[in-house]
Subunit: 379 residues, 2 copies
Amino acid sequence: MKIIILKENLNNGLNIVYRVAGRNLTLPILNNILIVAEQNFLNLSSTDLELGIKYWALGKVEKEGSLTVPAKILSSFVGLLPEKKIALEVKNQTLYLDCENNQTQIKGLDAQDYPIIPKIEDENFIELNMLPFCEGLAQVVDFTAPNQVRPELSGVYLNFQKDRVQITATDSFRLAEKTLYFEKKISRECSFILPQKTARELVNIFSEKDGQLKLYLSLNQVLFECPMLETPHPQIQIISRLIEGDYPDYQSIIPKKYEVQIALPKNEFLNQIKTASIFSGKNNEVKIKVNPKKEEIEILSQNPELGENKSVLTGKISEASNKTKEIATIFNYRFLIDGLANIKSSTVLFEVNGEEGPAVLRPEGDAHYLYVVMPIKTT
Amino acid sequence: MKIIILKENLNNGLNIVYRVAGRNLTLPILNNILIVAEQNFLNLSSTDLELGIKYWALGKVEKEGSLTVPAKILSSFVGLLPEKKIALEVKNQTLYLDCENNQTQIKGLDAQDYPIIPKIEDENFIELNMLPFCEGLAQVVDFTAPNQVRPELSGVYLNFQKDRVQITATDSFRLAEKTLYFEKKISRECSFILPQKTARELVNIFSEKDGQLKLYLSLNQVLFECPMLETPHPQIQIISRLIEGDYPDYQSIIPKKYEVQIALPKNEFLNQIKTASIFSGKNNEVKIKVNPKKEEIEILSQNPELGENKSVLTGKISEASNKTKEIATIFNYRFLIDGLANIKSSTVLFEVNGEEGPAVLRPEGDAHYLYVVMPIKTT
């Protein structure tokens, strides 16, 4: 193998595929990146056997060939090189790099021993706008269940209907749902559960890019493909296994109406919850009293050892609210902070349903996102 | 106690005294900040028994008094309050804070139980320009010895002579010395060893400020005082114990001449050492060959498991160099990186003295800083 490539091209690719190559003690080759020179490309791949990434970097191939090299060594090394051309050559399972006044040899492992990253042969795909899709994923990805007791909750649920996709995650204490509408209807309805790690990598890799993302689906895998600028050739492919199982019928958890809805300035609300959190107890509890008559909320917390805090925030009660009585609900302050952090508008709609019913946070003027949070039971 | 104070004033003070209040399990009151309202000030203090900080914040005292309150709670809480007036009041060893729509109680401990932070009664002081003094400390403070085998090396040595102060630290593998010259001669020559923690706090607290710092010295303590803007009243006092013992006669370690001196572009040199470090072995060794005839250096590293790296950097050999032979010296790359990070000029002078003699890094055109580094012995 011999190829001449710009440092920038190689570095961009390494920064992406590097993420999946980990510290695998039982199968050390998974700590490596597979590099393949063919046609006009250097193809970089990595996999952890559940998630695989492929990247095509343009280069001038003088001799086709392949090798695997340690991901950490190669990516930290290339990152430090000057912005010049690099000559890469493989001899005796060693990668020789020559860049300006710098000569390096990195010992590799045989490309034949690297696991095969699967392909999806189906030619049908769903086309997605990269930016809103990744923003939507980012707004729910943190709320999957952490443990393996209910594996189906450990991933992000994507439900593609004709004109929209609903992106959902829940850990049964809170639930976030983002809906994205398509400009033209898609041909195929489908739904699947994406591992949280894959969703995170999609956000990390694509969230600052603009363009189209193609989604190919098979029975137990999904492939996301981003084409190279102004060509049909793929630049990045992310292929991931799916989580088996049926996602619960979460729609029944989302309250269809509310007892009281109050519109609050988001940043002040967030700040006051943080302030109250300093004095919360072991269960992170803060109490929120909504007073429809005064059109305000009171946030309270107390800790017998540290002290106590009370603050008041004025808002606007919606017309449809029950305005007769005050409602006091106890929440885990972390869940409120997490929800508010994903509300992008300056005003948040806070909806309560009694002392024990689920509350909802929504961005004002945007029906496409909601965050449901269960109160802490006081009994 | 009752006082009205601007959030900003209180917050600025807490951000400074908060740093010393730690997690002390044997003496829990040391986790608290002492607050005292007297005259026109709220005085905030903290100490870990080796280092004490006092801060005076202007406020409107309605009733004098004092209390100690948990540092972490108070400072995180005040940081979140809006930029308004805060009313502080002490009742039943509890601090009541009232700020706009926010009412809080923080439980405290009796001010009588707080350790007394010592004073220095001497009226003589040395006046220092805060900014260069802290910059100088910052350039050496990381190089004290970490362990307690030789306590005198665990601190920063300050040697005040008539027209200058030398600030020095060494861990016996490398040594950094900064010299600051005074505009007017000081009345009193003195020298002492400052604990590394105190030096770090001085850098943290004063390094972005401009102004004068007064230094008062007693037998085993030192006091740094910064006055309040346009008043003689102190704003900040830092009082620290000194490290006992005699600092070694380090001047004999600093080479008085060199075999070869080469002027190198600093950033490229730093980058190439980082590149070489990826392939260094267990002892972090990289080899530097200085070739006076070619006016260049070669940086080499190799690791039997990973691979190897070689890079070349062109420089300028000084006239006084021995130009007959190549010198190859092996260094711990971390020590070179640390030294270069404290060279502020774009060109660094690199001086070598054979395979086993100490090497020196100096900023070009600045005789006031030097960094001596010992090679790794090859035998």
